[in-house]
Symmetry: C2
Subunit: 133 residues, 2 copies
């Protein structure tokens, strides 16, 4: 494995995730979906169990942004990236809260990416909240 | 990208996931964890939000197997694999039910893998159930 290539890929993916989180915070749907496949398969926090394709992906974010409001919180932490030559995945924790809420949610995030025409492209996202044990 | 290599990697990962599901069905903890990293990071269906390491991973399966019982169900469907040269991920749906239960659960599954010493190794699993919308 080429260590320089790997470091570059991991940096690109960290930048992609941070730009995505910033886009969520400024409610910019086009930028949220800027590096995503038209055929993305999403497992969202709430039902239905899975969503397929860009329109469904954007619709899920429209609903989330309405909940987030102008004073909500959306911060990605503990991001770990496994960056290969052409396929990568990463996972982390999203701390988020809706506008005016007194308590936040801890959301687990996994993102799957594939390199398409030299650009990292998100083809899968899995968001969930752990159920009470 | 080498198409033959990619097909081989995807086949190996499908076989790994099917062998893992079979090991769950026969309650074989060692085989469940046979292709997993000692440092695995798991997001399980239930709290806590994340588990780190082989002991925590096996403990989560001990609890699940007790729930599954001798007549439970654990079937992986809709598996899609993105297999790179050294990093891969896959996702699918697990239909499962505890012994004697009349209704099943729909669990979303994402697995992240890295090639270690030429062998695909699971370094991340994310299991979740969608919350009611």
């Amino acid at each position: 494995m080429n260590a320089t290539r790997q470091n570059t890929d991991e940096s690109q993916i960290r930048e992609l995730v941070e730009a995505w989180a910033q886009a969520v915070r400024r409610h910019d749907l086009d930028d949220i979906a800027a590096h995503h496949s038209a055929d993305i398969l999403m497992f969202d926090v709430t039902a239905p169990p899975q969503l397929r394709g860009m329109e469904a992906y954007k619709e899920s974010w429209r609903n989330f942004i309405a909940w987030l409001g102008d004073s909500g919180k959306f911060e990605v932490s503990e991001l770990e990236v496994a960056g290969g030559a052409d396929v990568a995945f990463c996972h982390g924790i999203i701390h988020c809260a809706g506008a005016g809420s007194t308590s936040g949610l801890t959301i687990r995030l996994t993102i799957g990416l594939q390199k398409v025409d030299g650009q990292w492209t998100v083809t899968h996202e899995h968001h969930s909240e752990a159920q009470p044990s």
